[in-house]
Symmetry: C2
Subunit: 198 residues, 2 copies
Amino acid sequence: MPRAQREEQILTVAELVFAENGYSATTMEDIAERVGVTKPLIYEYFGSKEGLLSACITRARTQLREATESAWESVGPTASLEEVFRAGIHAFFTFIDGHATAFVLIQQEGAVASQASPLIESIREQQSAATVAAFRAAPSLAGVPETLLEGYAEVVIGACERLAVWRTTRPDVGVEDATDIVVSSVWGGLAALVPSAG
Amino acid sequence: MPRAQREEQILTVAELVFAENGYSATTMEDIAERVGVTKPLIYEYFGSKEGLLSACITRARTQLREATESAWESVGPTASLEEVFRAGIHAFFTFIDGHATAFVLIQQEGAVASQASPLIESIREQQSAATVAAFRAAPSLAGVPETLLEGYAEVVIGACERLAVWRTTRPDVGVEDATDIVVSSVWGGLAALVPSAG
DNA sequence: GCCGGTAACTTACTGATGGTAAGTTGCCTT
DNA sequence: AAGGCAACTTACCATCAGTAAGTTACCGGC
């Protein structure tokens, strides 16, 4: 099997096993066995156990960001800032619903090495940057200082991630409900930034 | 040395070492050596490596919650809901500023066992519960449904934790700035809940 | 249609480390 | 003094991350 394809396969299996058993309880042989190869091949491709986790998280975070960006784009150019805002949040919760293992994995970020693996951190920043870019694209937010915009983006992302965790213990809270909670709690503050409207 | 005292000492060292090197890169002997005891004693007291991490996280989260609650209490009974709200958030960021290792540790939660170890999860819930209780104590929020209140609490906590991470790469953003960002982005939504005012 | 090379993959191993069994020391109570 | 328990150690095992040294099979060039 060609390398690229095998790597994808390993990542998929690893994501599942890491999410099921947790990082430290998972052995490289568990993963190798379920893929149908032997350990050294995985080391050849990913370097180390942490490297494998990093690769899994990077892929999951990239998928998450792409899902969000795609929602922003598909909302149409005539949409109001609030519509764009809501669409992104809705896409976030929808993605989590369909990729539970990926999300469990993202929470295992802390398991990876000390000096916050710069790779992981850069991927994380990409999502903040994308959110900031979405804000900045809105003409109504033109005059708002960059730092404030970044702070708001972090607030929204933090709120979404935490609510996603909360939702795993509250099956009665659907995607729409979660979206409503985020929008209604944070939208007011964001709207207050735009000079003209409220 | 009496057990209770030794346990505190071990927790303090472990918190430091885990925060410095990350969970999987630290060995039990690293910790034992820096404490000045041998491995089996730590196992006697904390059961396992994960047990030790759990104990560290539990202590750190408890301290964090207590700092927040204490701020709520000391704000006085005549304070408005907004003042209470702001005081809690301010206390949060102040605590993080003074306990960097504890906070790095809290982010390592994901490193601990599979299906979110019930112990860790219960500690996490304590903070949400405390925040909800603070909301509920406000007469103006009397009629708001419980689920919504819980959702808002999660939003605020998520926003604060994420901003705290962000702040580690933005030294120019002080405690006051971070507090302002959270209050200004989320307060509007919370205020909208109270029937009479806006 | 053989042949050199490389990509995909394996067997067989090592060292580190999480975890444990079986003590040893010393204080504290009776 | 004796008994017992709490604090702590030495010496060990088993597992698992990581590696060295191959082996197989495909693929391009002559």
